[in-house]
Symmetry: C2
């Protein structure tokens, strides 16, 4: 019989309700085997939510109940920040035992989310070899090949035979079982990488053959400093599970796996999304302390208030015009908001094209040409629309002309700015997702207010 | 010697400049081998950009020059939409030959991006077996296990021995080389999946052993209708490269690989990002026709204009108050924009927590409690700040009270709404990324305008 993981059939609230009841029984009975079974049978995707809704002391009790290997795989299935918070709350000794069971890249990622004191305390309690390895990996930027690689790999000297390798594999079958081995790396006497051996080639070869004659020579490898972005492109073009990572001296130091690159890409996309909406300082989960959450959100909002004052000061300069034609006040937020939206669309397309590698910061003219025509057409369409609305609503043809004309011009400006700002920021090595929105909004607000009010001043005789 | 893929050392514009010159020579010489080398040596990530900047006829010439396998792997390294556009522009026969060289999931994804006529024309020219397979796969939702799986897998009957399998592997080594085999599936007489065999276990077993005694029985499998979201959670918890996919009758129909799930997750995150910024109808690349791009962006902007009119009508109702205290017009956009930003932060956190599975639509109260306190604290902080600005700028204490109080109250409202709207939408099976922003902005604009102007009306004697 086959165990089939069906999409959940029961309503979501029932599923977690049952799980809660079960969990209570297990924690009361302090039964590690039941805890193991419980985790195994939890519907996919429920773990993170279940843990999020436990109180601190319940979380503590539950994890203490788990075998270290179960706790380690639980941590790997949780969002990084959540796992790091949980582990940091445990006694360092207990956390260290769980860390010892994790893969090296996961160890580094989770310690990276803790304070220096927390991670240092855990490192001191860890297996000395594992700890040394983590300290070595922690020196790398987390979005470089060195920071993304695992150090669990199989390497043999070129003089080994197929039989030597098979014997070693059999002898260490248990240890290697955790390695997820896809390739075996072949080194020369100086530990330099000279070849890669696929498991399936090993399968089909006579036992006495030297692996040096079976390997793929001159394999593609990456430097330990290669960026995530470059790694994504390298994997895009090649059907590989993993790539060997070499240091400046050409020595093999680890393996980056496709799955890790893709996971990192997904995480980065998630953080980009948060930054785009004004959440700075990394992932925000609601399990973070209130002070941290308030502070992080305010840090962005307080910059935003300054930008808003700058934009609003334009209105302040035209208070006379505004009090002569009070209907303008109705249309000011509309024009600035509409063009802000048009500009944001262009920001998103540029940001996306940069991520996909379809454009680079230097492609200024190409992007400008493409967006200018679009901005012109959409500007005219929206301007006519808003002009008609103003005419019908307030019965003033001149008002329609003012707000329609201002929206048309401001849409063109916003679309071009929105398309080009991410390129400029990227060119200056800044994060387009973070800064494009606020810069764009401030500029389009200022322009929008200025265009409406200065057009109105020009046509004042026909407006009053 | 090892070929190391270093991060690009040369400035970006030079790299692509050189590539352009090379490409011209190759196209003129019509040299397929040079084209092959050219692609192989292009810096990682440059392919998509190079192709994007070629004119339509140049693209055509270049692809015609490539071997079908090179063209197929070029397509796999391009963004899906770009690849689909390129292939749709080729004669159907030529496109079909390139399609025949792709993996089944890629075939379906690219045909999915074309019009029905385009994809039908190509399917008719393809290898009949491949075409039939694609038609079978195309029936699945593209974000289900059936739509994400590949149909290239190895399966043997339970009665086979290790030797049988090895002989078959050797005999078909060339065909299987494209399969990226990690597991071998074991079927009973009714083609039902009963076990999985790992390559490394095959390595270590005596040749006469029956695979039924070597396999992992009752393997985890997924239904062909399992959603991408569920698949992500299933892979999260298990260190697997791929999972067998079975149909309603329990027959093995394909394999979903971790890498495909992660790629699909990344693509989905990208589309979420675009939708969040108001780009509907899927991926937008600037190589799409201008008409399509204008239309898609306008479809969202024209909804937005209606929402803006609704919000602005609140201002219109208070024109008298506004003309009495014209300084209010300066603060109206500030209050609505600031609270919109606060609300957007909460939208992003809720959307992200939904994606990570930390919350579900039913967790209304949990989310409300967490955001209420945050909204209250940030509201007070921002309200005090803006109140002081108004007081200092315009020298009117009552104005400070009005705009500060309005911002404080509206921030609290916006944060709570922003946090809860994505849960509501998700509960109704709508896309939180798409609809949350506009709903939130309209509501917070209306509330903001109303709060400022009604507070002002109350305090009117002190404002004039």
């Amino acid at each position: 019989m086959t165990e089939t993981a069906e999409p959940e059939a029961t309503p979501e609230t029932t599923a977690i309700g049952d799980a809660w009841d079960q969990l209570e029984v297990i924690v009361e009975a302090a039964d590690p085997d039941a805890a193991h079974e419980f985790l195994r049978e939890l519907p996919p995707g429920e773990t993170a939510r279940l843990v999020a809704q436990l109180s601190d002391s319940e979380q503590h009790e539950f994890i203490t109940l788990l075998h270290d290997t179960d706790a380690a795989s639980l941590m790997e299935s949780l969002p990084e920040l959540q796992a790091a918070q949980l582990l940091a709350a445990l006694p360092a000794e207990q956390a260290a035992q769980i860390f010892d069971e994790m893969e090296s890249d996961e160890q580094v990622d989770l310690l990276d989310q803790m304070t220096d004191e927390q991670s240092e305390a855990i490192l001191e309690e860890m297996d000395p070899d594992e700890a040394e390895n983590v300290r070595f990996l922690a020196k790398y930027d987390s979005n470089s090949a060195g920071g993304l690689m695992i150090t669990e790999f199989l390497a043999f000297e070129e003089s080994a035979t197929v039989d030597d390798v098979l014997k070693d594999l059999r002898r260490n079958a248990e240890e290697y079982a955790e390695y997820n081995v896809q390739y075996i790396y072949v080194l020369d006497h100086d530990k330099q990488l000279i070849g890669v051996l696929r498991l399936r080639d090993l399968l089909l070869a006579p036992p006495t053959k030297a692996i040096a004659r079976l390997m793929i020579a001159n394999p593609v490898s990456v430097s330990d400093l290669t960026t995530l972005e470059d790694l994504q492109h390298i994997f895009d073009g090649r059907p590989l599970f993993g790539l060997p990572v070499v240091d400046a001296a050409g020595a093999l130091v680890g393996v980056v796996r496709r799955s890790d690159i893709e996971e990192a890409g997904e995480e980065q996309a998630g953080r980009t999304f948060l930054r785009f909406a004004g959440i700075l300082g990394g992932e925000e989960l609601r399990s973070l302390p209130l002070k941290t959450r308030c502070g992080r959100r305010l840090s962005w909002l307080s910059i935003n208030i300054v930008l808003n004052i700058v934009a609003a000061s334009v209105i302040s300069m035209y208070e006379e015009t505004l009090s002569a034609v009070i209907a303008l006040a109705v249309f000011l937020p509309m024009v600035s908001d509409m063009s802000g939206c048009s500009g944001n669309q262009a920001v998103a397309v540029s940001t996306r094209e940069l991520v996909l590698g379809v454009i680079k910061p230097g492609d200024f003219l190409h992007v400008f040409r493409k967006e200018f025509t679009l901005g012109l057409l959409n500007g005219i369409a929206l301007g006519v629309l808003l002009g008609i609305v103003a005419l019908v609503w307030k019965g003033m043809p001149a008002l329609g002309l003012v707000v329609g004309g201002a929206l048309a011009a401001n849409t063109l400006i916003a679309v071009c700015l929105g398309a080009l700002i991410p390129l400029l920021l990227k060119g200056f090595k800044l994060d387009p997702a973070l800064a494009s929105g606020p810069i764009l909004t401030t500029l389009t607000d200022m322009c929008g207010f200025f265009l409406v009010l200065s057009f109105a001043q020009l046509l004042l005789p026909w407006l009053t």
